[in-house]
């Protein structure tokens, strides 16, 4: 982090210039600092420096009981809090080895997919902003607002929900939730086409994103890139399919992968397009789940106190940004000994310097936008 001298002249070549992009910069998506060595407009070296949002999440967890960790998990990926809750709950449930009622699983899937839509909307909007298109951002944000309204009706919170708990969810669905969700899906189906008209097919947008920042599949895997960013490179790796958790094997959906329709496989446009297609798939899943949701008590499996056995567990979850992992070591008490979170955006960001070097400053913004990072999760 930041204390190393801000302008390090010793390592600069004569025609090089060091730019500090961030911590306050419109397109670093939070308080990320990129130390960029440039030769004119061309970027020759990027050194991401993070930690400005570091809150000692893992240290906190070592002092809190399993239930108390949930709100902290929320705050990691603040754009997809439900996914974080869900991922953490899955890990604790795996540690406790408990079965959940059907209804809870259905609710969780519905919520998670709605959250994926909301998160991808922000990703797409800010990506548009990064390449200079302002209007898509306002559109996506206003549509995300509808999802957030749904969540507000569900649990009262708009950003940090604290809704999915180990062993269940905090409340049952409100009666009107299902109707409102269907209403939203119908609305969003139409809106989706408008996005394609505004941004996807725009020649300037394609010019800016196609063939830019190509992540080859093997390099992506080597760096641990996951989620839409990896699928954009054509790797068919989605935990909902490859290692199904919850009840995802019950639903029919595709895993969209980048095909290089506008340029090379794995370019920024592919990553963008994979996110667009994933929203479509998420809508499909939500419709299926809503059609077949059973009745039941959502609190049935909720443990009174969480006291797992001694041991450790590693659980994985496909969040909007990729592969969230929780490694929990328990010593039999109600406080974890060690809780390590594998942050997808952390790994996704690590490939930035590999991919963006040799491109222009504008492309760095594009590539960073296409990786869709959330700093709360990177710094934890």
């Amino acid at each position: 982090m930041g204390i190393d001298n801000l302008q390090d002249n010793s390592s600069i070549k004569a025609d090089e210039m060091v730019l500090n992009m961030g911590p306050q910069h419109p397109s670093t998506h939070g308080v990320l600092r990129l130390k960029i060595h440039t030769d004119g407009e061309i970027v020759s070296k990027i050194d991401p420096i993070m930690g400005y949002l570091h809150r000692c999440f893992e240290k906190h967890c070592e002092n809190l009981s399993y239930e108390q960790v949930v709100p902290f998990v929320d705050r990691c990926d603040y754009l997809a809090s439900m996914h974080m809750d869900h991922a953490y709950s899955l890990a604790v449930e795996k540690l406790l080895d408990i079965e959940l009622p059907e209804r809870v699983e259905y609710i969780r899937v519905i919520i998670a997919e709605l959250q994926r839509i909301a998160s991808h909307l922000v990703a797409i909007g800010t990506f548009g902003l990064d390449v200079g298109a302002i209007t898509p951002f306002t559109w996506t944000i206003s549509d995300r607002e509808r999802v957030i309204d749904l969540f507000e009706a569900l649990c009262g919170a708009r950003l940090l929900y604290n809704y999915i708990w180990p062993g269940g969810v905090s409340h049952d669905l409100s009666p009107k939730f299902i109707d409102r969700t269907i209403e939203f899906l119908d609305y969003f189906d139409k809106k989706y086409d408008e996005y394609n008209e505004l941004l996807t097919g725009n020649p300037i947008f394609i010019e800016r994103t196609a063939d830019v920042g190509i992540i080859p599949a093997d390099v992506g895997v080597d760096y641990g890139v996951t989620g839409p960013s990896l699928r954009g490179s054509g790797v068919d790796y989605d935990l909902r399919k490859t290692d199904p958790y919850s009840i995802y094997e019950k639903f029919e959906f595709e895993v969209p992968v980048g095909k290089g329709e506008m340029g090379t496989v794995g370019d920024c446009w592919d990553r963008y397009w994979v996110r667009m297609l994933e929203m479509k798939e998420s809508m499909k899943i939500v419709r299926q789940a809503i059609a077949s949701i059973p009745d039941g008590d959502v609190h049935a499996a909720m443990p009174k106190r969480i006291r797992p056995k001694k041991g450790s567990v590693y659980s994985r979850y496909e969040s909007a940004r990729g592969d969230v992992g929780f490694y929990i070591i328990s010593n039999g008490k109600n406080v974890p000994v060690r809780l390590k979170m594998r942050s997808p955006a952390f790994c996704n960001l690590s490939i930035l310097s590999e991919v963006a070097e040799g491109w222009m400053i504008s492309d760095v913004c594009t590539i960073l936008g296409s990786l869709d990072i959330v700093l709360g999760e990177i710094d934890r």
Binding site: I134, F205, S362
Partner: protein, 375 residues
Amino acid sequence: MSSVVGSLNELLVSLFSDISLDVSFLFLLAVIIPGVVIFLIMTVNAIVAVYMERKVSAFMQDRLGPMEVGIFGFKGGKKFWGGIGQTIADAIKLLVKEDIIPNDADRFLMILAPFIIFIGAFVTFIGVPFSEGLIISDFNIGILYVIAMSSVGVIGIILAGWSSNNKWSLYGAMRAAAQIISYEIPIGLSLILVVIVVGSLEMSEIVKWQADNRWFIIHSPFAMLGFFIFFISGVAETNRVPFDIPEAESELVAGWMTEYSGFRWALFFLSEYTNMLIVCIIASVVFLGGWLSPFKIINLPYVDIIPDSFFILDGFYLGLFWLLIKAIFLIFVMMWFRWTFPRLRVDQLMYLCWKVFIPFALGNLVFICIWELLF
């Protein structure tokens, strides 16, 4: 002399003929009054254009835009006119805002730069017509003058970016300089088309030719292509989306304006919107018939589709109206661009200019000569 300075001078001389005032003093008055008027036009234009920009963007983004600050009884609510006083409030805020000059900046140049840009825009206005005879000074080098003066602003931009002592500003300045200098070439080349056909650089002559024949945009396919090249290059010349790489909010924060605040920044803002207006007026005058009414796009000597009585729509005041309508429409198109397009990258921008526009503009030049010889 059919210009404002000239007629104003005559008017003043005749008014004050009984009081023995120095003639040169009157001439000075005749120069200063239009200057004040230009400044007022620039200010009003910026205020109206900003309000328009906000409402247009709000319309395109499914929102309302400013709705709270009202004047003259228009206020808030769900009415379209809500927030009509917003830009005035913003202007006042800008003027009373603290003015910051960074410690290591070059003070003198940093203060000088906004004025160079402003004066560039201001002086250009002298050659810009608003209606028949409503031009501060109708030079016989009209178009050339406008091109010349609009190229002054770039020096202010470079100085602003450099003197801020900020790397982002410097990048913005370099990009701006490269961009504006490059796009001056297609602009000049497409304006030469009309000069070749009309045989004069004078604004009033150009419009007179269009009144006698037809709007220049439908003179030939090449003229139409020339119009598009001119207009798109004009968008680039005014640093607006999709060519706003010198500001490039998501890349360079605010480009060469990053370190400016308050009054100085307001000057930049004023100049930007003034340049927009100038480009749009020039495009209307040169290609879209200037102050001619749109009912008379083609002047066919033998066929009278529209009765002559319709042509009372032309005239001094209506001419002003038509010209402003055309210019405002073009400004709207610029705003439309801004709120729908992403931004080009700097190399793509240069590619567009040097490898697309300039060859086409040069080709145009050749073909329009052939066209003139043939028809």
